[in-house]
Symmetry: none
Subunit: 284 residues, 2 copies
């Protein structure tokens, strides 16, 4: 009765249940139907709760699991649970997996492999987690501002430089606070409530960037932040806050996803301002 194949993925499980549906006894068939119709319940509820919802006895659920080759209800539930996480594996989880596949020797090409893969995951994460409204709000604010001040120090500086280049090319009024000559605060001083501060900052959040954003916020100046997670101080002191997760090696942060977000923002803004002409060739 207990067969030898415990399906290890949700898809397999689905297939097995469908296939064996006909041959199952009445009660087990009833459970099979419930399971396919309510995979969330199967994943998250307790045996007795599921039993109640499916109007069967708890013990039948265990028999069902065993009939499918599992050694108990819990191991079957694990498969249902994986479905919930596999849909969107947390970014860190994926990185962890990457890290565990470290049987290969660490040659230069291996390192490149890993970083490209990590960057790919970061990009997926970016597009899956970024709320459309967030983008649209950011673009509205950018379009409405008189002048855009860009601030990003240390490892955030490349992103700031990139945004500065692109926004100038759109014809926007831009000021890059680049701290040349130690003039950080002087460069920021000309910010007015009609302007906007575009701040990029990652752990451990350059004090000057935080300070300037705080002051801007207090003055009622719009602040858009590109930062690295919910614990960033910028979630509190920005009007629009993009959270970009990336791979990190010591203090070296992969900026692939940030660059992609920046590019997207600027292209959208260009579209919004109708400064660019031919959008059909946009992705040619």
């Amino acid at each position: 009765m207990a067969q030898t194949t415990p399906p290890s993925s949700y898809e397999d499980l689905r297939t097995v249940i469908s296939a064996r549906h006909e041959t199952l006894s009445k009660r087990l068939r009833q459970i099979a139907e419930f399971a396919l119709a309510n995979p969330n319940d199967m994943a998250l509820e307790t045996v007795s709760e599921i039993a109640a919802r499916a109007t069967v006895q708890p013990s039948s659920l265990i028999r069902f699991a065993k009939a499918l080759g599992f050694d108990g209800f819990s191991s079957m539930q694990r498969v249902f649970r994986e479905r919930l996480t596999e849909r969107q594996p947390s970014y860190r989880e994926r990185i962890k997996v990457l890290k565990e596949q470290s049987d290969a020797p660490l040659t230069a090409i291996t390192v490149l492999d890993r970083f490209t893969e990590a960057a790919s995951h970061a990009l997926n994460h970016l597009r899956e987690e970024t709320k459309p409204e967030l983008l649209e709000q950011a673009i509205e604010h950018l379009a409405a501002s008189q002048r855009i001040y860009i601030l990003g120090q240390r490892r955030a500086f490349p992103v700031a430089a990139y945004l500065n280049y692109m926004l100038s090319h759109l014809g926007c009024q831009v000021a890059l606070i680049d701290s040349v000559g130690g003039m950080t605060y002087e460069q920021a001083r000309s910010l007015t409530p009609k302007d906007l501060l575009l701040a990029i900052s990652f752990q451990s959040y350059a004090p000057d960037t935080v300070e300037i954003a705080t002051r801007a916020c207090a003055q009622g100046i719009k602040v858009i932040a590109i930062t690295d997670g919910p614990l960033s101080p910028f979630t509190a002191l920005s009007d629009v806050c993009f959270e970009v997760e990336e791979a990190q090696v010591e203090s070296f942060r992969s900026l692939s996803a940030c660059m992609c977000l920046s590019l997207s923002l600027v292209v959208c803004l260009g579209y919004r301002l109708e400064k660019t002409t031919d959008f059909d060739r946009l992705f040619a």
Copy 2:
């Protein structure tokens, strides 16, 4: 200690954790960080398993839940679980819509979708086309050089700034030719045959960058180039030449793959220079 507001949605929970993060004690803060980074674990694992993964005591998790206003761990976990069932497959939906409507409207999120996809392709291309020997040669040259001069102008500048940041942090002798005060050639003048020029340039190849690379080449100085294809002048005037293809919109070039290559180069160099680099924490 137990406050009166038990957040009832995941979004609320996230907000509350972010807000109270600063005021929490060391261990609770540690849990807060883990929870935000691993919501799947929080939803599906048992107290002791989560405790083990976060390297805290089980009891601390209960204290954490209570500090947030819940009456126990289980009721907090309920909120994490809701997240798994409530979230819509917004991304997959978006893609489906994208593919079904050939004349998809160009919304902000669509642009982001397309750029992330383009960047992903660029990364794949990078991984597939980059010859291992090229990487290894580059690393050898970098390791052998006395001083690394980095030159990238206009849209290549963000990459140059990134390399500059990372190489300095490795403890390398680095000089970023940033043209501050129009001193481009003066900054390049101190290049000697023991040094190395790391040039980044894309179409249409900033004249100063080409000129400086040409002179360096003539002097027998090693040149490593990151550029955009076989038509680049740098294929001829560099010892090692990386060709990185990326999506391009008018003069805006996606730099995701370049950033990834740069990061990989630096990490490999770090490994090469001091074998003590902890490669187990490489993706921590």
